[in-house]
Point group: C2
Amino acid sequence: MAEQIDSAPVKGVRDFYPDDMRVRNWLFEHWRAVAKQFGYEEYDACVLESESLYVRKAGDEIVGQLYNFADKGDRKVALRPEMTPSLARMVLAKKNSLAFPLRWFSIPQCFRYERMQKGRKREHFQWNMDCIGLDSVAAEVELMSAQVAFLQNVGFQVSAEKCDIAFKVSNRQVLQDYLATLNITGEDFAAVCVIIDKRDKIGDEACAELLAEKNVDGETAGKILDLLNVRGLDDLARVAGEENAGYQSLKALMELAEASGIAHAIQIDCSVVRGLSYYTGTVWELFDESGSVPRAIAGGGRYDRLMETFGGQSVPMVGFGFGDVVIALLLEERGLIPNSDARVDDYIYPMNESGFVIANKIAAKLRTDGQKVLVDYSCRRFKHVIKAAENAGASRMFTLGDQEIEAGIVKVRTIGAERVENDHPISEFT
Amino acid sequence: MAEQIDSAPVKGVRDFYPDDMRVRNWLFEHWRAVAKQFGYEEYDACVLESESLYVRKAGDEIVGQLYNFADKGDRKVALRPEMTPSLARMVLAKKNSLAFPLRWFSIPQCFRYERMQKGRKREHFQWNMDCIGLDSVAAEVELMSAQVAFLQNVGFQVSAEKCDIAFKVSNRQVLQDYLATLNITGEDFAAVCVIIDKRDKIGDEACAELLAEKNVDGETAGKILDLLNVRGLDDLARVAGEENAGYQSLKALMELAEASGIAHAIQIDCSVVRGLSYYTGTVWELFDESGSVPRAIAGGGRYDRLMETFGGQSVPMVGFGFGDVVIALLLEERGLIPNSDARVDDYIYPMNESGFVIANKIAAKLRTDGQKVLVDYSCRRFKHVIKAAENAGASRMFTLGDQEIEAGIVKVRTIGAERVENDHPISEFT
């Protein structure tokens, strides 16, 4: 016998056995259903993309974590680390034939080579919803409302009385306006955002050091870090001024969120920056308020200039990514994942190989009638078969013994609370 | 403005815009529904696998077409070219806790770097169904029946009167028994199969040359090629003898296929070998009889010794792969792909930004009631909005003008054959 291969998947990626796949499909179906309730259309791109799509100057962490290589035609390719660049590419490719605004969603698998920890693997699936071509915070509120609808549908409380989750929302224009007065703009501003997004991880001092490398002096760095401590609209108005475009935008957002019934779930929190350099306006992160998983459940933002950096005309775009790993941990903890396995209606048991022909005839007929049918060709003993039938969630078992077949009879037993067994003529089911 | 990026996907791979995605989802849902009707459970593995999973000695073409590379931890990895090795790996990893026989299906995306032609790209999705742990041709017939059920469900004729498709079925044991008498066994036999699978492409002469490299002399090569010309069970009995294990197995298969109502779709055809070296028993390919696409629609086979080559205990396994590219071409040609886009029930049109708040309140209420609702925040002119509502398949449009809002009124117009517009109190929908 050959030496046994390593039967584990590649480090950091997951196998989905049927039990895992049932949960994954359940989650994805919830995502799809909500996206459709909001009029969003599904799209997809290939997990294999051109590496150039992810090359950015702002120091994004994501660029250092690429699974990248050269294909046999020497093209520099990468497994996508996120969906947004593919989306922008696709929109750019058909910008003259698409009917804007677009409301698109997708559930791509994304890859990042990074250190693994709770709630973080090297691949995950990510529910993405993006609204493209709408320059209004109405889009942000629509997207957050969809996230809330999903959370409610799977059993989270998101009401004024009890709210299990919170959106922490900010707007990059708050900081951008402030830094513009110091002549920090464009790529430099994006780089500053990437740095201060790491604040929670690396602390204020390390942050100030990295900022110094971008020519932000200590006093300004202090002011930036102060700005990040702002909480709530009133505080923001006081610090940034009511004329600040970021403040104005967040104020309009809260008004619409109120109308959509999600305002109680939103906290204005200027510490939210997001680690992707392309965001330009609203940015938000979604947290579980019980806090057992310290990572954000989801994050989103407005990126009105990504299309420009791709060489296209500027198009307002806003969207979110909602990973499958963190939410699965939370759902598991809260006991919100359903555990059902009713995958079969009828279970047919020919006791010997001589019964296979009749079994197949019955199965063909029942399937034509729309039943989910499993034929057990194992010729195992009855007690094993009845257990397998129960495990498959069957509600009827058809037993075909040689004597019965000769007499034109099949035993039909109902499975469940009450077990009833009756003889039926085989002709009834063929 | 930056130079425009290349907006095309990587060469050989596809983008799925919403129109394409609708078709893909429609196809996948058909595959899923059929697999479930046969009691199969869905599983998945990661598209990123260990390269070692695909290393074989028999000269399989697939090994030369890998998208392979080293990850940042210097692991040799590859994008899966097919699903079977991942399946075997997963079964091996949990062989002591899984309840055999397993009936599993999956719809993985697979990658092969090869020359592109009609019906062949560098990635495709492939419906896989596998029955694991059942040493009976009942499994083969079950799998072919599932393929037939799918084809019928999407509109192909597969009846005794009119049959659009054909399974060409053979059994490697026919050839194996013959070659064993010439002491060609094991890896050598597998290598012979890989060679003669290329016969249609390269011709008899080139085939004989490659066989000579494997120490098969000219006379034997001639006999092998003769054997490939056998058609039908009777011809096979005459050439291989009724004692031949391959003949016996095919005979049993036809009997069960008759009971399952699919025998008319099956042709015994010894020219079918399949290009994968791990097949050991039944092999089959599915063809469109109209023949507009010269490639097989699907292929399958029994591979009872793959688990051994992975260092595990031998387990009977049989399965098929059914790609999405060829079938989509055929469905398109036959006009069998539905073209519907009723993605929205209600379309809400606030004429000005001042109407967004009321629009959001109505949308939130209607969505809670289960409606699919799109709010058009574009503030475009009415004629554009009504067109967009029609395109989205909406059956009602809610128009909110400033005067109406002030009067507590929303105009509700039914869209479709008959257009009726009525004023309703806003309170009815909030």
